[in-house]
Symmetry: C2
Subunit: 195 residues, 2 copies
Amino acid sequence: MTKELFNKHITKFINISSEECENITSFFTLKKFAKKTILLHAGEVCRFEAFVIKGCLKTYFIDKNGFEVILTFATENWWVSDIASFQQEKPSQMWIETIEDCELLMINQADKERLLTTYPVLEKMFRLLVQRHLVTYQERLFGNIALTAKERYEVFLHKYPALPQRIPQHLIASYLGVSPEFLSRLRNKKKKPLE
Amino acid sequence: MTKELFNKHITKFINISSEECENITSFFTLKKFAKKTILLHAGEVCRFEAFVIKGCLKTYFIDKNGFEVILTFATENWWVSDIASFQQEKPSQMWIETIEDCELLMINQADKERLLTTYPVLEKMFRLLVQRHLVTYQERLFGNIALTAKERYEVFLHKYPALPQRIPQHLIASYLGVSPEFLSRLRNKKKKPLE
DNA sequence: CAAAAACATTGACCTATGTCAAGAAATCAA
DNA sequence: TTGATTTCTTGACATAGGTCAATGTTTTTG
C-alpha cells in the first residue's frame, strides 16, 4: 500500500509498532493534486504539513521583479509546509506549488495537535525535521556566498541526482540563484571535454 | 540584577511567575569571555546553548580559501549555539567566537533536559526560537539571491541598527557576502548626495 | 495531430562585484 | 606614548554572471 513509505519514514526517527504506525497515518489525509496546482499563496496562512508520497513540489518567494526564487524542492519522502506560518497561524510569505502530479499525506493544525497529544514521542521527530531543515538552509546560504555557480550546481547534482531528469532546468537555475541562460552555458561547457 | 534581561525574555514567550523564572535561570551558568574567544571550533560537538546578556558574537563557516563566511551575529537578547550539533551531539561545521567581551547564560545538554522535564512549558519557547531562526535563514537566502549588495546592506542596517558602531566593517561585509572593499565603496557612494 | 506554449541554447554585450596593491586611519598593547 | 596591528579607503583592472534577442526544440493541449 502506498502509505508504507510513510511508515518506513516514521520508523527511521522513532521506535514504534506497526499498528501504532497505522494509527498515526490515520491522522493524515491522502490527497492528489495535478501538476501546477498552487497549494499555498503568499499572504495566506499555511493550513497543512504534507508528506510527499509521490511527485515533486517547489516552495518559493517572489522577488521585486516578479521572478520566483526557489527555496526548496520536495520530492518523495520529504515534508513540505511553511512551518512558521503553520504553527503560528500567521500569513506566509511563501508560495507552495506542485511541479508534477502529486500524492500527499496532509495534516492540519488541529489534527497535528491531537496527534502529538496522542503520540508525544512524535515531538522528537518533528523537532529533528525542523532542525534538518535549518541545517539545509545554513548550507545553502553558505554555498550561495562561498561557492561559484558551477560548484553549487555540482552540489545540487550530488544532493538531488534524479531531479534534473524530472523538472525543467530553469527551476534548477532559480534554486541555484543563476539565470537559466547561465546554467545552460555551464552544463554545455561541462560536456565539451567529452568530445 | 543582570539576569533580569533573561527573565524578561522568557516571559515574552510564555506565561510564568517570577519565582519560576528565577528557578529556570538557576539551570544556567553565567560566564564571561574576553573578546576574540573561540567558544566552538568546527569539528567539535557544541556543548552549550547560550543566551547573550552582554556583548556580541559571530557564528561562521570557513570557505575553501580559508575565509570566514559569517552566518549570524548574536547580541544582547539573542541565543547562540549550533543547535543541530548540540541536540544530536554530532560534530559541528561551524565556529562560534566572541567579537566583544561577553557575558553569557549557558546551559549544557544534560541540564537542558532536566530543565525541560521540570518545565515542559519551555518546549514551546525553544520550538519558537528554532523556527524564528529558520525564518531568518530563509530570508537571508532569499536576500542573497534576489537583492543587490546595496539592498542587503540596507536590510542589515534596518535589522541591526546598532551593530555598525560596534563591530568592524569587514565582518558586516562577510555577513552580507561581499568583499570589504566593495562594502566600503557602497557606504561612501551612499554618503555623497549629502554634500 | 497541429498549433500554441513552454523550455533550452547561443551570441553579443553589459554590469555588479571581486582582486590586488598601496597608503591612510584607527586601535591596541607594552 | 609609540610602534605594531588591524581596519578602512581608493584606484586600476579583471571576471562571473546578467540581460536581451533570436532561434530551435520539446511539451502541452484543444
